[in-house]
Each structure stands twice: as structure tokens, then as C-alpha cells.
Symmetry: C2
Subunit: 202 residues, 2 copies
């Protein structure tokens, strides 16, 4: 047997083991229902991951709704890209960065309006996919009660998928989540002096 | 002064501090150029984050290309969603999961063909955004040389953004990355018996 044959054989064995593990896992996961996914942490990629998953869902013909709880200064790429899609309802709430307004009353009012809309979607059987972008800040700043949010999410239609993004997540949300990913920031271009750019940061 | 006034004042101060920090950071980041972003780790959200960022980039009118280095058994939602977009060139390479084929020669050949195509895009000034999905496995399994990959990425047009996804990343790629996010898996629906579903996992 040549060296290459031995290597190829090792490769075949490695892949066969991997296949066996993957196949076993697939066989064990049989429950069919919607999930609550939390994307948290301080790294880049939380909102973009949620929007990428929405694209995936739309690719399969699903209906989706987005509520962005924090409004930026400029129109974002995700808004420009998805706003006219026939299967998407896209809402940008709030009235600018909270750290721009610095007005607790106005911010609380905006958060409540946004969440009232969210609760409507959480009762709508026709919507397969819900994205609550930056929702966690509204809880962190005391504008929304974590318990009320968790209760509405837990009571949603069984097939509905929900993704919530934000740096930190209230315990009440973590308690009812199916998948929790934490994105940590190992390095960021911004800290090395690279300016935020359209298409990457917004 | 009432309690609410005091609370509102504290809120105003907290947000004012946040605004000062954000404004300072923005003022310090002045370099304008494309970046290399790595999405690694074992958590859910790496590929979807890259596709979400692509949507953001397309929203600003950019041109994009995707190369998926691993082909799944079924058409994915991201492929169905983006394949006909006029600003996207979408390539799915390979010939099934590597752990399905278990053929080192065929896998190596497929990886090389995909990377040759990638190198063409890395010399194309007209393409703003490149997504190399699951590229890191090709390096891990020895089908592609990390050095060759890093060299081509480092020599790309200055304004071009590149995102690479995969669980582990070769040192050579990390050395030339601007942003590295690591997604860790705190919880996954799959392990709790929930079946992989279209629109979420693929």
C-alpha cells in the first residue's frame, strides 16, 4: 500500500465516523415545531445572522415579519433590501438611537408601541418567521417587562420561529429559548481604525 | 424632585455617557477599505450571518458572489432566495457532504475547482462582497493550502469585503482578518430532539 492509499483510507474512515454521528443525531431529532433562537454577545453578526435566517426562510416560501426596536440614523442595507419583499412586513420602530434622544418617556412609549405590534404577530398563524431585532435593549433599559415578553413568545403558534437579537438577554427569555448562540468579539475592524461602512455595519 | 424625575435624570445621564463613547469611537475610525471577516465557532449562525451581511450589502446596491464549498442534500433556503438576484452570482460546489462521499480524491478536486473560481473573484474589482461559505473545512481536511488561500485574499482589491465561515479557522486566515467573531453554542434545539427544519437549518 502506498502512502496515498493509507491517507485516503484514513480519510474514508474519518468521514465514515462523521457520517455515522451525523446520521444518529438526525435520527434522534424527531420533534417538529417552531423554535425560539437567541443571538447574544458583544461580537459582530447577531442581527445579520437573524436576517440571513430570514432570507433562508423566505427561500422556502415562508412569510416573515421584522420589528427593529432601535432605529439608526440612516436607512440600513437590510431595510433597503427586504422592505419591498412581498412576503415580508418590515417595521423600524423608535425614533433614533436611544443614546441620541436621552428621553426616557419617549423611549418607553416607542418600545411599548413596538411590543404591542409584536404581540399581534405572535398571535398570527400565517406568519412563520418573526425577527425582533435589538429587543433585548428595551428590557435592559426597563422599557419592557421581561416577563410580559417571554409570556407572549411562549404562547405563540406552535410552528412559528422567532429570533431575538441583542448583547444581553433577560433570564426569562433564556428560560424559554430552544437555541442560544453567543457571539464573542475576538477582533473588530472598528477598533483598528476602519470606518463603519454601508453593507457591513449597516 | 419626584422618584420618576430622578430615574429619568439617571437615564438621561446613562444615555449621554453612551452617546459620548459611541461618538468618540466613530471619530477615531477613519480608514476606508474592505475587510476580511471570519465567522467561526460551533454555534448556530455563522453562515446565516454571512448571508445577512450579503443582504445588507445588496441593499446598498453592491455586487456580490457566493461560493459554498460544501453541498447539502437539498436545495437550501439561502440558495433558493438569492440565486436569481441580478446582483448575485451564487455557486454551490462539491458533490454532496464530504462525509457522504468519503472519497478524498474527488473531494480534493472539487475543492480545488471551487478555489480557482474564488481566486477569479478575488481579482475582480467589480465585485464588492465575497462569501466563502464553509471554506475552512477544505483547509482542515487538507484539500486546500491555507497559505494559498490567505495569499489570494490578502491581494484582493482594496474595497472588497470578504466573509469566510466555518467552525475552525487556519492561523494564516486569522493573521490577515480584520474582524473575527466566534459563535459559541450555549443551547441547541437539535440536541433537545427538535428536527432540523427548512428556513432555520437549511
Amino acid at each position: 500500500m502506498t502512502d496515498t492509499d493509507t491517507q485516503d483510507d484514513a480519510y474514508r474512515q474519518r468521514m465514515a465516523t462523521k457520517k455515522r454521528i451525523v446520521d444518529e443525531r438526525i435520527a434522534n431529532a424527531t420533534e417538529q415545531r417552531g423554535v425560539l433562537i437567541l443571538m447574544k454577545g458583544n461580537g459582530k453578526g447577531k442581527s445579520s445572522s437573524a436576517f440571513g435566517t430570514m432570507a433562508r426562510s423566505l427561500g422556502h416560501g415562508h412569510r416573515a415579519a421584522v420589528i427593529q426596536f432601535i432605529k439608526g440614523r440612516k436607512a440600513t442595507g437590510e431595510y433597503l433590501f427586504f422592505k419591498d419583499h412581498p412576503q415580508v412586513e418590515f417595521h423600524v420602530m423608535g425614533h433614533g438611537f436611544t443614546w441620541e434622544t436621552q428621553d426616557a418617556d419617549k423611549d418607553r412609549q416607542a418600545a411599548l408601541e413596538a411590543w404591542t405590534l409584536a404581540e399581534r404577530y405572535l398571535q398570527d398563524e400565517r406568519v412563520n418567521f418573526l425577527l425582533f431585532d435589538e429587543l433585548s435593549y428595551m428590557i435592559k433599559y426597563g422599557h419592557l417587562e421581561a416577563e410580559r415578553v417571554a409570556r407572549a413568545i411562549a404562547a405563540r403558534p406552535r410552528h412559528q420561529n422567532v429570533i431575538v437579537t441583542g448583547r444581553t438577554m433577560a433570564r426569562e427569555l433564556q428560560d424559554c429559548a430552544d437555541t442560544i448562540s453567543i457571539i464573542n468579539d475576538e477582533r473588530h475592524a472598528f477598533r483598528q481604525g476602519v470606518k463603519a461602512q454601508p453593507g457591513i455595519e449597516y
